[in-house]
Assembly symmetry: C4
Homo-oligomer: 218 residues x 4
């Protein structure tokens, strides 16, 4: 392992741990704040099952968007976890880029609430897609910087690196494609989001041998 240069924090250092504590804090709060976006209904007759059922039924969008966003943020947290498990250290630039990445994670509860309230509105779907695509884009930037700055614990072969980039970029593509789709038909846009899942499973077949040892996300 190379000696850490100036402004470079080793995997064992307090500073490395602190970046992760802060990162996990932002993830945990963003994912838990999602629930705040679900409003408690108010009904005239507080004991009426039917009235409450109607109100909750109107909020279906909020429940669906809570669980979609939990899955989305959870998936990014898993990918970040895998990414960090491959690092031998961090430099200041990576810490700065990670902060920008976290800005988009911390922003996600807003488009989630918007989606919950306007589940059929093309604009709220488009904004949600932009926000998620931005996070995936930053994931690519983080991995690219770590690769180029020699922060990965093992030498990653070029073929594996390119495949990893492709895997991280593919959600960007699906989410950006869903933006024009939302203005044609909102269900089409959501279908494109879900299409990303079988695509990733399919793409796993073309995976370079031993890629698992090095790759982010997936």
């Amino acid at each position: 392992m190379a000696a850490p240069g100036f402004g470079r924090y080793d995997r064992d250092s307090l500073e490395f741990a602190r970046v992760l504590a802060f990162t996990d804090g932002v993830f945990a709060i963003a994912i838990t704040l999602l629930v705040v976006g679900i409003e408690v209904p108010s009904i005239p007759d507080t004991d009426s099952v039917r009235e409450l059922a109607n109100e909750l039924n109107d909020q279906t969008g909020s429940f669906v968007s809570f669980f979609i966003s939990f899955a989305v943020i959870g998936r990014y947290w898993l990918a970040h976890h895998t990414f960090v498990s491959q690092l031998r250290g961090m430099d200041r630039r990576l810490i700065g880029l990670n902060l920008l990445y976290l800005a988009f994670i911390a922003f996600l509860p807003f488009p989630t609430s918007l989606l919950g309230n306007f589940f059929e509105n093309p604009l709220s779907i488009a904004l949600y897609a932009v926000a998620v695509a931005a996070v995936s884009g930053m994931e690519v930037v983080l991995f690219r910087h770590a690769y180029r700055a020699g922060l990965l614990a093992q030498e990653v072969p070029a073929v594996v690196y390119r495949w990893g980039m492709l895997m991280s970029l593919s959600p960007v593509v699906f989410f950006l494609l869903s933006i024009p789709a939302a203005f044609v038909n909102t269900s089409l846009a959501v279908a494109l989001w879900l299409l990303g899942v079988p695509f990733q499973l399919l793409a796993n077949r073309w995976k370079p041998k031993d890629a698992d040892k090095y790759l982010i996300g997936g």
Copy 2:
């Protein structure tokens, strides 16, 4: 101790610690967000003791549900703490299942607020019971996976494993039973929740010898 295989994070690893940091973060936020569900009343004469007392009196349900949910989430945190203290490592599947478990923990502040506002409504009681039963169900799933995938630090005898499963499953039963009960009588449903406590104390008498060394929850 077996050598950790691929995608398996040892108890001493940064990755193991990070999953716990994220988990504790979600627990801490979910339990602290409960207080946000208690609305500050607004009264015309801000200095009137009687008006404020009346308003706070109307909110009794909110206070009761805050403390019930604090006890419920706190109990799950204790059980998770005991569970983790028995692990020698985690695999990716356990991390994924843990994330799903956390989704239900993070959701709890919503049924809690609902219960606080509609304390006599069978539907809010039923929804609360479903949410809590889901968490207990996931607790069973986590323990089962850890047992089968050989992630426990010690070999657990089959009799102890079955007893542990029973203990984790019993709250699922009590909470699911309380759902139809709520539509008959809301107090009956709450009584069923409380009945779980003496049942667990009673069940402790049939506990297999030395079970304490291995078991989750309890």
Copy 3:
């Protein structure tokens, strides 16, 4: 150092660290949630300095109660920090008591908001005093259990123990005394809270020699 018994988590253990992570999480969230209690005013002419100044002026109580509560929660965090620095381990009972202690910490943002909105109302002052007294009372319970169960790292002499209990109990006394005082005159109650500070400074003079080596809070 004694060998940790069953259900006893040593200072170096992952379990000990996890209790602290959870505790610090609850403290950090409770202290940061206080700001959510300060409402952003709405005014007809958004660019008018005078209107905004008037609105903010009406919210003086919110600002004052934010800083009082930050100081109160911060002081309890410091005391908890000192307390933990004296422990050689935790048992399950201490973890359970700590959870109850945290329930009162997590509740504090509510009486704080109440106080911010009803700064002249005897009832909101009384409720705030009850909440703070409960936290101090739990602090006493934690220290007492640690002392009796032999969880302290060093043998504490009886005279030092009694003095430490007195110091932790004194805020309970001042806050409980302020409850009837609030119904006579709200300023009198707040004066009693502030009186606790010079009292603690004064009491420091009677401190047993070397007490600093062992004591909580102060």
Copy 4:
């Protein structure tokens, strides 16, 4: 390294780590709470793109202030991170001062929301500037105490110390200057905030040699 005195917590101690965990928690929550300040609009026709676009357009101030505040809090976190990486330990006074520093960090979401709602109001701009200047002022106080109490890991030469103080003080100056400027012209005030960036880049040229090894912020 000097032996830690009484009430002095070494870099390797649990207590040192706990202060950081609490600090990172407050930072993570404050930065993630910013999003709560962005209200989800309500429109009569929930599926209308135009109505939603109009509403979101009216909220431009909220989005801009979210990203400004994320950058501001992120920059302070980075500076705190650098500061802590230079400490060999903490004393109680530093922990107390750090708590006061965190009070101002935790307060930032309020002026941020205010700014988001009243982006053209001189008073909200002035309050935001006061809040940020207070954080920078506390940064100076922390660094000064660490320097004087011998808590820095390396002996910092006087010339480097003075330059570091200047760098931390410069945002205080720019933000305080922006207060009277806001009452003349709100754009002028924001321009002054942004002017701090090129100033810091320029000031980096006059940096004493090897200052990077010792300095906070920058």
